[in-house]
C-alpha cells in the first residue's frame, strides 16, 4: 500500500466514531475490528503456511473464557486477564502445533476440528468452572487507569489498537525470513527442508502466534459483549473467519481486514433490507459470486488492477 493510502486509512479509522451516526454503527465497527483480529490470525496459518485450522474458534473461545473467568472469579483487572488470555490461547496453539508436528493438509484440519470439539465439550460440561450452557454473565468492562472503557466509542479505540498491533505483528513476521520460511512450507515443503528451513519449527511458531492472536480477539469479545457462553466455540465463528480470509485474499496482509469489514457490515446491511430467509440467500449468492469472479480474493484482484500497490 502506498504511504498516502495508509495515512488516509489511518486517519479514517481514527476518526470513524465521529462519522458514524449511531452507537449501532459503532457496534458494527467494533465487531468488524474483533473479526479483523481473528481473520488476520487465521490468515497467518491458512494464507502463509497453507495449513487450514478449522478449529480456530477454540483459540478464540479459550481467550474469551480465560479473560472472563479471571476477571469474574479471581477479580483480576482487565489488562492482566487480557495478557493471560493471549498466553493461554498461545499455549493451546503450542499444544496443537506439537500434536500436528508431522500432520499436513487434511490431517491438520482434522486435528484442529477435534481440538475445538473437545474444548467446546469441556465448556458445556465443566459446570463448576464455566457455568455450563448458561454461560458467564457480567464480565466487567475494561478500565484504563481512572477511565472506564464502557462506552462504545472508547471500546472502538481499544479494538482499533488491537487491530493495529495484530497487523504490525503479521506484517513484521511476513516480511522477514520467518515469513519466507512459512511461505516455503506452503509452496514446497521438501525444497524448503533441503535448504535448511526447519519447516516443523516454523509451523509450530505460526500456530502459536495465530492462536495467541485469536485469544486476543476472544478476550476483546468477552469484555465487549460482557457475556461468555459455549456459543463462542461454534463452528460458525471458524467458518466466518475462513470466509473473511478467503474472500479478502489469503496470504495478503490487507485481505483479512477487508474481508472482516465486508462480512461484518454485509449481514447487518442485509438485515435492514430483507427478511431472515432472504438474508441467507443473498449472503450465499454473494459468496458464490465472489468465489466465481475473484477466486484469489478481493485484495489480490485490486493489487493486479493497480500495479505498484501491494
Amino acid at each position: 500500500m502506498t504511504r498516502a493510502g495508509g495515512f488516509f486509512l489511518a486517519v479514517g479509522a481514527l476518526t470513524l466514531p465521529l462519522w458514524l451516526q449511531s452507537p449501532y454503527h459503532v457496534h458494527v465497527a467494533i465487531m468488524a475490528g474483533i473479526f479483523g483480529v481473528l481473520a488476520m490470525s487465521l490468515n497467518l496459518l491458512l494464507g502463509y503456511t497453507g495449513q487450514l485450522s478449522l478449529g480456530h474458534a477454540a483459540f478464540f473461545g479459550i481467550g474469551a473464557y480465560t479473560s472472563a473467568l479471571l476477571t469474574l472469579k479471581l477479580d483480576w483487572s482487565f489488562w492482566p486477564a487480557l495478557a493471560a488470555a493471549v498466553a493461554l490461547a498461545g499455549a493451546a496453539g503450542l499444544f496443537i502445533g506439537r500434536l500436528a508436528l508431522k500432520l499436513r493438509g487434511a490431517y491438520f484440519v482434522l486435528v484442529t476440528i477435534s481440538f475445538a470439539g473437545v474444548v467446546s465439550l469441556v465448556s458445556v460440561n465443566w459446570i463448576e468452572l464455566t457455568n455450563g450452557p448458561l454461560g458467564l454473565p457480567g464480565v466487567p468492562a475494561p478500565e484504563l487507569g481512572p477511565w472506564s472503557l464502557r462506552t462504545k466509542t472508547a471500546y472502538y479505540y481499544l479494538v482499533l489498537a488491537a487491530v493495529a498491533l495484530s497487523y504490525v505483528v503479521c506484517r513484521r513476521l511476513v516480511r522477514s525470513r520467518i515469513g519466507r520460511a512459512l511461505v516455503a512450507l506452503r509452496e514446497n515443503e521438501p525444497l524448503a527442508e533441503s535448504v535448511g528451513v526447519d519447516v516443523t519449527h516454523y509451523l509450530v511458531l505460526a500456530t502459536v502466534v495465530s492462536a495467541a492472536m485469536a485469544g486476543l480477539g476472544g478476550s476483546l469479545y468477552a469484555h465487549y459483549t460482557r457475556f461468555v457462553s459455549p456459543e463462542v466455540f461454534l463452528f460458525t465463528y471458524t467458518v466466518t473467519m475462513v470466509i473473511m480470509v478467503v474472500a479478502g485474499g489469503k496470504g495478503t496482509l490487507a485481505g483479512p481486514l477487508v474481508g472482516a469489514v465486508l462480512f461484518t457490515a454485509l449481514p447487518e446491511a442485509l438485515r435492514a433490507a430483507a427478511s431472515w430467509q432472504w438474508q441467507m440467500l443473498a449472503y450465499g449468492l454473494l459468496l458464490i459470486l465472489l468465489v466465481f469472479f475473484l477466486p484469489r480474493g478481493i485484495v489480490p484482484r485490486l493489487a493486479a488492477a493497480f500495479p505498484g500497490r501491494r
Binding site: 504490525v168 505483528v169 513484521r172 513476521l173 522477514s176 525470513r177 520467518i178 519466507r180 520460511a181 511461505v183 516455503a184 509452496e187 514446497n188 521438501p190 525444497l191 524448503a192 527442508e193 533441503s194 535448504v195 535448511g196 528451513v197 526447519d198 519447516v199 511458531l205
Partner: protein, 254 residues
Amino acid sequence: MLAVQDLAVRFGGVTALESVSFEVRPGSITSVIGPNGAGKTTAFNAITGYLRPTGGRITYDGVGLTGLRPSSIARRGIVRTFQKTSVFPALSVEDNVLTGLHLRGTAGFLAVLAGRRRLAAEERALTAEAAEIIEFVGLAHRRPEPASALPYGEQRLVELGVALAARPRLLLLDEPGAGMTGSEKLVVSGLIRRVREQGVTVLLVEHDMRMVMGISDTVIVLNGGRVIAEGAPAAIQAHPEVIRAYLGGSAASA
C-alpha cells in the same frame, strides 16, 4: 568428506540399494550413473535425510548423518536438488533465492517482532546476495517474475540458484540436465564447473553421458542397487561390466 558405507535401502520386499559403498573426495565432481531403477535417487534421498536407510552408515567429515532431518543435514552444508523440477512456484525468482538464503539470515522471532533496525540491514545484505546468485545462474532478467511462469530450463536454473543460496559445501544435483536442450546443458555444465572452482564439492546423478564424461573427476556406476564400477570417466567408458549394464550382454561385444 562424504563416505557411504554398506548403504542398504529396502522398501518392503523390494531392495533398492544393497550394500553400496563409495566416497566423495573434497573438491571433486563425482557422478553417479546407472540405468533407470539402479537406485541413484534412492541413494540421494538416503544421504540427504529424505529416506531412512535400512542399513549402513553415511558420514560427513567423520560425523554420522543417518537419522538426521533434511534441514539439519542442510545446516551441515549438504544441499540437494530434485529430479523433478522443484521451485517455490508462486514466488518470484528473487524470493525463491531469498528463501534459499534462510540459513544466512540470523533474525529470530523476538528480533522480528521488535522490528530491530539491524534487521533492515540484514535484509538488504540478503537481497544483495540473492542478486549475485541470480546473476551467477544467468537469470538477472527474470528476477521479479514468478518461478512458475519461467520456461522449464530456466526453472531448473532457479532451482540451482536456490540450492547455491544455502551455501553448500557438498552439492548434490539430481539430473540437472534432464529435459534440457543441448545448449542449456552446456550452460549447466559450465555452472557446475564454476561452482566447483568456488570450492564446492559436487555429487551428480545424470543420464547424459556426454555431460557426465565431460565434467566428472570420478564416475560411480550403480546397477541393481550395487556399485558395479568406480573410476575416472575414460576407465568407466571402457569398463566391460558398465557396457553390459547399459547396452545389454550381447551388445557388449559388438
